[in-house]
């Protein structure tokens, strides 16, 4: 759901650009706490994998396709701040080199796909991971699903504020959430699959497991049992 140029007017696009720059600056600081000596390559390769996966549009209902966003995947594998950076790198390469997503719309796309999707994914992941006492795959799927709706919600708000075609907001909202609920199912499946694959081989390289199993007393005893079982 990369926004092309022309859908959203200049004031809202510029405001989104300012928010995007602020979020990236904050994430550059925050990511320092998330990276370990050995996980910088993991962060880089997560961005690379997301770029590749975004090229693969899968069919959803009625002549529509969707592709992975990858924000939930990034938040879980490398952390929410590093995730914002990875998504921003992907979106920038796409907009600058492949004309995928508008250039003046880059700020809008960063806000929706890099910031809103990643932050929503991380909150949902953390909540579900704790509620289910450490069910990684369930939490990853929930985070993937919600991340797509969060990005769609971002677009709806931006269209209400600065859409270049006068349309009823509820019409646009209903259409966006309707289509993206289906795409969210694909996002949930791919996110869960990839997170499970990485955690199966190298759980120590999954940021969410390093962070939540060590710091949360509600989760760590059960998680520690599972790991040592």
């Amino acid at each position: 759901m990369h926004i092309p140029d022309g859908f959203i007017d200049a004031p809202v696009a510029i405001a989104a650009g300012a928010v995007a720059i602020g979020a990236v600056a904050l994430s550059l600081r925050g990511a320092r706490r998330e990276l370990t000596e050995t996980s910088a390559p993991m962060a880089g390769l997560t961005a690379v994998f997301i770029f590749a996966a975004q090229m693969v549009n899968f069919p959803v209902a009625a002549g529509t396709s969707g592709h992975l966003i990858g924000a939930a995947l990034a938040a879980i594998l490398i952390g929410p701040y590093a995730g914002v950076l990875a998504m921003t790198v992907v979106l920038s390469v796409q907009a600058l080199v492949f004309a995928d997503g508008g250039l003046t719309a880059l700020g809008l796309n960063v806000v929706n796909l890099a910031v809103l999707a990643t932050v929503a994914a991380w909150w949902v992941f953390r909540g579900v991971f704790r509620l289910t006492r450490g069910r990684l795959v369930v939490a990853a799927a929930a985070a993937g699903f919600v991340s797509v709706l969060a990005a769609a919600g971002g677009f709806v708000v931006e269209f209400l504020l600065g859409g270049t075609v006068p349309l009823a907001g509820d019409t646009v909202a209903a259409a966006m959430f309707g289509v993206h609920a289906f795409i969210g199912i694909g996002e949930a499946a791919i996110t869960a699959l990839v997170v499970a694959a990485v955690a199966g081989v190298r759980p120590d390289l999954v940021y969410a497991l390093r962070r939540l199993r060590s710091s949360d007393p509600a989760v760590s005893p059960a998680a520690a049992e599972k790991v040592t079982a």
């Binding site: 140029d5 990276l35 962060a43 390769l45 693969v56 002549g63 492949f98 966006m176 955690a199």
Partner: protein, 144 residues
């Protein structure tokens, strides 16, 4: 899920960093160069909504639409969207993303180790200047 984590932890066999990162890179290349050739060409969610609701016409060409790799094809080639050209575009995209991402995360990791070194330096200075007997870095009773 917890079963596969347990299995990996239980076997005691660990895939090395190098092997793991190499596998991830190869998988990304295969996805971009091969799997992407089978991607659906139907409009994506936002494009579909724009068509259905009626704002698709508002879309304008990006300033980068003249890029030699626009739309993951090679517009200048005789057959811009041939599988070979699309695979090539995918591989170039993977390489570019890798270059930018490694530069960004490399810089973050370096600034991290720099600030960690600063903190160690400060702690050492404080320890050296603290009066004897009140050195905070040597607790009277081991805390753990």
């Amino acid at each position: 899920m917890s079963s596969s984590t347990s299995r990996a932890a239980g076997t005691g066999r660990r895939v090395s960093n190098r092997t793991f990162y190499l596998i991830l890179a190869v998988v990304a290349l295969l996805v971009a160069a091969v799997l992407a050739l089978f991607a659906s060409s139907a409009p994506d969610g936002l494009e579909k909504v724009a068509e259905d609701v009626g704002f698709a016409e508002a879309a304008q060409d990006s300033a980068t639409s003249g890029s030699p790799l626009a739309d993951y094809e090679l517009p200048a080639a005789a057959t811009p969207d041939s599988p070979v050209n699309r695979a090539f575009a995918g591989v170039v995209g993977v390489a570019l993303t890798a270059g930018v991402a490694f530069a960004v995360f490399g810089a973050v990791a370096r600034s991290r180790s720099r600030s960690a070194a600063d903190e160690r330096g400060r702690a050492a200075t404080e320890a050296a200047t603290a009066p004897a007997g009140s050195n905070p870095s040597i607790p009277a009773t081991p805390s753990d």
